[in-house]
Amino acid sequence: MLQYFASLNFLTLVKVLPGDIAQGLIWGILALGVFITYKILDFADLTVDGSFATGGAVTVMLILAGVPTPVALLAAVLAGCLAGLVTALLHTMLGIPGILASILTQIALFSINLNIMGKANQAVSVDQYRLVLSSRFNPQAILSGAVFVVLIIAALYWYFGTEQGCAIRATGCTPSMAKAQGININTMKILALSLSNGLVALSGGLTAQYQGFSDINMGRGAIVIGLAAVIIGDVLFSAILKKRQNFAVRLCFVVIGSILYYIVIGIVLWLKMPTNDMKLFTAIIVAIFLAVPYLKERSRSSFTRAAKNGGKQNA
């Protein structure tokens, strides 16, 4: 036991943080996309697993074809919007329940992504192409990632304060009221799903550049990570800032949730856990994170405490 603790090098943990933060920022963009559909529109959107890989595929193939990277990323965003549009149309035009519509799109995207890449895995080396960020240079990756995140949060804060954005929020909150106020909720769903998947595809494009390749399965489980980030961010937000409910700050916390998730993975790797159990320990640590605010509240007001106080009075 002592040997185990002695073998852990705290300095290493500090050195590995930049990589985790960079990945957390990039996946934070995906978390923002999931936030839009899950929290604002109240729609369980599993298209994310597919559109993330679509973003990666489109970006890499365009970069390999000689297209400048920013343009490739823009194309990836449009591809993601298209994927979201398909899900929305399946749901609104064909009446397919939301979650099923998103699963159908996700399944279809697997084939589409294979066709885009031509094969299951495509490398894009930072030595040969000008990439926006790469795991080779983590501090710069953090900077680029942060720039993207700040711009996106600013844009979202503005958009959801406009008339259209408010209409989307109303649609997600109370569809009947939205309809009574003349809002076409189908159009709102289409807008929200397109926007969300566009962000997810952007995140996929950045991830592909960061890790140096795009893989057909890179989106597998992305919705889980996105939801974990959203929920971690939400829990921390309500725990730390109880009164002030600023939307922009809330979005920041979503990205912070993503960064924390990746730091947790980094910690688990640093702890040199048996490799098979990595996911188990990640889940345990995330669960502890989420439980702390709840338990803190419980300590202040709970039935056991009430019973204790009530008992004292009787005695």
Partner: protein, 264 residues
């Protein structure tokens, strides 16, 4: 203002649960009519309102609001002509959004929603004034999320939202049914005031006979998807509950056996 011509609507056609909710309903409302609609459960009152609002398409017949044929328009496209207050206080307002945001949404009913900022300072002033008129103290809490308000406050807010832009027709669907007697009275009084001040045409569904007699200038009673009584003017003012029950028995050949209606 409102014309329903031979409107029919049946649910679950072809199954064991088939029900003809509206059968050949003809109704004509003049400008400024405040009509109360009464009847037992399953009579078709809410169905009538939903048909006018456009929640679903009718099977046959036509609906005209202020001369405009809206039979083929879905609810959100008719919304610019209508104001609506629902029975459930929760679904008339967006709980996650602030009072002023809800009002801003209502202020843009029927208008194209673009990328301008959702609420201007001038509008805020205007909302402040309108909320003051409600007399519920909401004007000081405009940045509060609607989910924190009580049911009565939410209904009052929904009413204000429905009349913020003067609607051609105001639809009130048992809007006090979920409230306690004091709040219900207050909301009803508010409804009267708003309708009178703005000279609105209104259709109010209620299960409460006393309210139906006391409010409005015209009373309609429905049974089995048909309008069986239509009383207005002086005759309505003199009406009592007993009169209504007798009239009902005459027309329908049954006695009205709904406790809720009888005992209220």
């Amino acid at each position: 203002m409102l014309d329903l011509n031979n409107v029919c609507k049946a649910f679950n056609v072809g199954t064991v649960n088939e029900k003809c909710a509206l059968s050949s309903v003809d109704l004509h409302l003049e400008d400024g009519d405040f009509v109360t609609v009464i009847g037992s459960n399953g009579a078709g009152k809410s169905t009538l309102l939903n048909a006018v609002a456009g929640t679903w398409p009718v099977d046959s017949g036509s609906i005209l609001i202020d001369g405009q044929n809206v039979t083929g328009l879905p609810d959100y496209q008719r919304a610019s002509l209508l104001g609506r207050v629902f029975q459930d206080p929760m679904i008339g307002t967006a709980a996650n959004m602030m009072i002023e945001e809800n009002l801003a949404l209502a202020a843009r009913r029927g208008k194209r929603r673009g990328l301008r900022w959702q609420i201007t300072p001038a509008e805020r002033e205007q909302f402040h004034e309108r909320l003051k008129e409600l007399g519920l103290g909401l004007e000081d809490r405009m940045s509060v999320k609607v989910g924190l308000l009580s049911g009565g406050q939410r209904q009052a807010l929904t009413l204000l939202m429905a009349t913020l832009r003067r609607p051609k027709l105001l639809l009130l669907d048992e809007h006090t049914a979920a409230l306690d007697p004091t709040t219900a009275a207050k909301v009803l009084e508010l409804s009267d005031r708003v309708i009178a001040e703005n000279k609105l045409t209104a259709l109010m569904v209620t299960h409460n006979m006393k309210d139906a007699i006391r409010h409005g200038n015209r009373l309609i009673m429905m049974n089995d998807g048909k309008i069986i009584l239509d009383i207005s003017g002086e005759e309505k003012k003199q009406l009592t509950k007993a009169d209504l029950l007798q009239k009902f028995a005459e027309v329908s050949g049954n006695t009205l056996e709904n406790d809720r209606v009888l005992l209220s």
